[in-house]
Amino acid sequence: MSDDHVYLTLAEGHEDDARWAYGTGFEDPLHGVDTTVPEGVDATELAALCVALADDALVSAQRLAEWTTRAPELEEEVALANIGLDLLGQARLLYTRAGQADGTGRDEDAYAYFRDAGEFRCVRLAELPDGDFAFTVVRLLVLSSWRLAHFEQLAAHPDPVLSAIAAKGVKELAYHRQYAAEWAVRLGDGTEESHRRTRKALEQVAPYFGELFTAYDVRDEVVAVLRQVVEAAGLPMPVYRPLPGSGRQGEHTEHLAPLLAELQSVARAHPEATW
């Protein structure tokens, strides 16, 4: 390899320009997949489900991106970014599917950048600020266990596109849950301070369990996972005192609007621009 090779060829055309970074380059994430909504599937319901799951993933990815350059160790820098990138990838596929199913033909960016907080359908647990590393780990444990259980069911969904997205997501989410469970045990068992912080984080997430378990039959599985991890960590199960309201109905915490204001700031300042 000549010393200059890479830089010299920069201005030349590249056939594979769209694929410079794995998973980041697809113009149409569902290229080659039959995107007709099958008979017997309610397209409006399918679109609403895809948007809700995409909103959870996008808002979670945004919270994980906020850890960049702030993580407790370089390995955690890499792992949190991995998880954030997986979720961002899921969001992009799901938005694209929603745009096909709801008949509007909107692309992923139309959903992410040009809807206001009241139109988002993410669960409120995803919106809460990052807090400390214990809170991030405990929230990730709850959300990834819940999403994994849900995606395992969706892998059998009659819509082939959603089914394929879910099947791909299952592998990613299994890693997210594993990562969060390992850290929850380390922190629960580690020092007095880490134990105290993790216990507090469990109490902080508990009020938001309710809206996770309303629409889908995954409650028992998720609670069993949590119980197992919490026992291994030497922590008590938190007391469940549900908050009224649900992000799935467009009822959000006060934290969502500022999160979206930041996420959407450049795109909305230049609505005519191409990026």
Partner: protein, 327 residues
């Protein structure tokens, strides 16, 4: 540490070891962690690799600021992945330094206490999303010019780390250039953002190659040891020669009135960077030095309880395993 074999009976003399080392370098073969090496070689490498690792980690900040605001989900994914790669590069490089007897935690302390440096380029601010593209084009481009020769560095673990890093950096550079191409095809405001970013990053990028050769005290020894392969001025000239046609293709102007083709030399003539500015930034008086160090220090301090918890848990696990084995 310096002469690991000297305590053994019949071990080769220091002079013999030195001769063996010199011959290995002369044959263009690699020095590996278990090989004897002069203390100066080891220290120079630790200093250079640590500084490189610190640069990767501090270098996450200027672009990392834009992940949450990237204007499309595709650009968000590209930028998120790029900044993650930089954390990965930091990890490989700290590991390479550890093969020379350094310790990552200790190197991090040295960075935070200001006893070790990082590339001064990261002390400039990122003011618009175009900066993400220009950093990819210029800063990753300059890094590639500096680093591709290091893939042939005489120290094996460093050379091997650089092979992987250079491959990833070349992706980053192409991504940056492609973002700028797209922006230049966009609105008038986008084109103005790109030109403004080019104006701000051009001179600091030229300074990335270090001071001029006649003012670079460590270069000669590093070249003799084949840790370094080309002089600062030679690499800077190559960077300018390669960048000029790329700027033309993009449709931006490089902010140097003295920049012109010199047919006699077959290379571009260009102006002199403001070396006083480089010295000021290196000494800690750039626009963002304090901010960058403060962020790194805060992250490290805030993570202290997490690292302590992980260590305590590992110790408890080990104790439980021993107890289990006895019982």
């Amino acid at each position: 540490m310096t002469t690991t074999h000297s305590a053994e009976a019949g071990a080769p003399s220091e002079q013999g070891l030195q001769e063996h080392f010199d011959a290995t370098i002369a044959r263009d073969q690699r020095i590996e962690p278990r090989d004897w090496m002069p203390e100066g070689y080891r220290k120079t490498l630790v200093r250079q690799i640590a500084q490189h690792a610190h640069s990767e980690i501090i270098g996450m900040q200027p672009e990392g600021e834009w992940i949450t605001r990237a204007p499309s989900l595709r650009r968000k994914a590209i930028l998120f992945a790029k900044v993650q790669d930089e954390a990965g590069h930091g990890l490989y490089l700290y590991s390479a330094a550890e093969t020379l007897g350094a310790d990552r935690a200790d190197l991090t302390e040295r960075l935070i206490e200001g006893r070790q440096k990082y590339s001064s380029i990261f002390n400039y601010p990122t003011l618009s999303f175009a900066d993400v593209g220009v950093i990819g084009w210029f800063v990753d481009g300059a890094a590639i010019c500096n680093q591709v020769p290091l893939c042939r560095s005489s120290y094996g673990p460093y050379a091997r780390a650089m092979v992987r890093i250079c491959k990833e950096e070349s992706f980053h550079q192409r991504q940056g250039y492609e973002l700028l191409m797209t922006m230049m095809r966009g609105t008038e405001a986008q084109r103005a953002m790109v030109q403004d970013a080019v104006n701000r990053w051009w001179w600091p990028s030229l300074m990335m190659f270090g001071p001029p050769d006649d003012a670079s005290p460590n270069s000669a020894q590093s070249m003799a040891w084949k840790i370094k392969r080309h002089s600062n001025d030679e690499l800077r000239q190559r960077f300018v020669d390669m960048t000029v046609p790329q700027a033309e293709k993009l449709g931006v102007t490089l902010p140097d009135p003295e920049l012109r083709w010199n047919a006699e030399r077959g290379r571009h003539d260009f102006g002199t960077p403001d070396w006083d500015e480089l010295l000021r930034v290196i000494k800690g008086h750039g626009p963002c030095n304090d901010q960058r160090m403060e962020r790194r220090r805060t992250a490290h301090e805030n993570g202290g309880w997490v690292r302590e918890a992980a260590t305590a848990h590992a110790a408890k696990q080990a104790a439980r395993a021993r107890k289990g084995a006895v019982a």
